[in-house]
């Protein structure tokens, strides 16, 4: 297999991985199996980070609209 084709395969696989492992319809079946329980925790962590990011964006938007100088808080 030529180097170019091998590289194409690699990049395409990586692109597929990003979609097929992180996206699509995500359901909790009766049992959702992944490689190890650690993966489920990572899934939860990413959801948490997205939520925190969203909350922070909402906070900023609110702060801008009310034109107040909000104190820093976690």
């Amino acid at each position: 297999m030529s180097q170019l084709v091998a590289r194409e395969k690699e990049v395409t696989l990586l692109d597929l991985l990003d979609r097929i492992l992180n996206k699509g319809v995500i359901l909790w079946g009766d049992v959702t199996i992944s490689v190890a329980d650690v993966d489920l925790i990572y899934l939860g962590l990413k959801v948490l980070l997205s939520s925190v990011e969203t909350a922070e964006r909402m906070r900023k938007a609110k702060a801008q609209s009310s034109m107040q100088n909000m104190p820093c808080n976690i």
Partner: protein, 251 residues
Amino acid sequence: MIYLYAITDRPERPIPAEPGLEGAPLINLVCRDIAAVASHLTMVKVPPAEANLWRHEAVVEALMVDRTVLPARFGTVFTDEAAIQGTLAVHYAEFEADLKRVCGRVELGLRVLWDDNDNQPLDANHKKRLNGQRPAISGRAYLLSRLEEERQAQAQRQRAKALAKKLHTLLTQLATQSTWQVLVTPRLLLTAAYLVERERVTSFQRKVEALSTIFPELHFLCTGPWPPYSFVTAGIAMIPSEDMENARSQP
């Protein structure tokens, strides 16, 4: 155990001959106007080995030929058919809405690399400084240097966002929906996905080629057509994006 590949419309269509994982035949579980395509599984765990990933993808793409598809995340397994039927009933409205939204459309992926001058990950400098000076550095000096690094990082992030937005705005015109992220890694200026009508894929491709001529200092990668992994909202949706509203908006 039953392994789920996708939720589809047109439940009356015959199941494709494409084999599923472990070479198992596909089964079609119908709930009113939608279906779940799955196969029986003897494995207890489904390792994400290359062969299994491509098999899952092959099934989804075979389905995409003649029906609308919401691809399932890899590794979604149920105890039995009744469990899947239950899920179809519970999420019916969401699935129906998603199917309507992605009908006739495919996902195209885009990544753009840049070589910003101060592109070096800033923590690398920070680590080097720490390793050399840890005994001597004062707490105050440390935080002040971190402050300076954060300022530079923020400036770089502003530059990236402005440039990425320019590119994204030009491409999103060809799509009904899109998601985009800036600086997933320091070199990855833009990571984006576009939901595009099948007939517009070639135009999109040409647009990317054009952009690479206008911005020769950037590197473009465009892949697809993919099933609409990034545009599914049913179930637990995670679409981190610079513009969450855009990702959720109707065309």
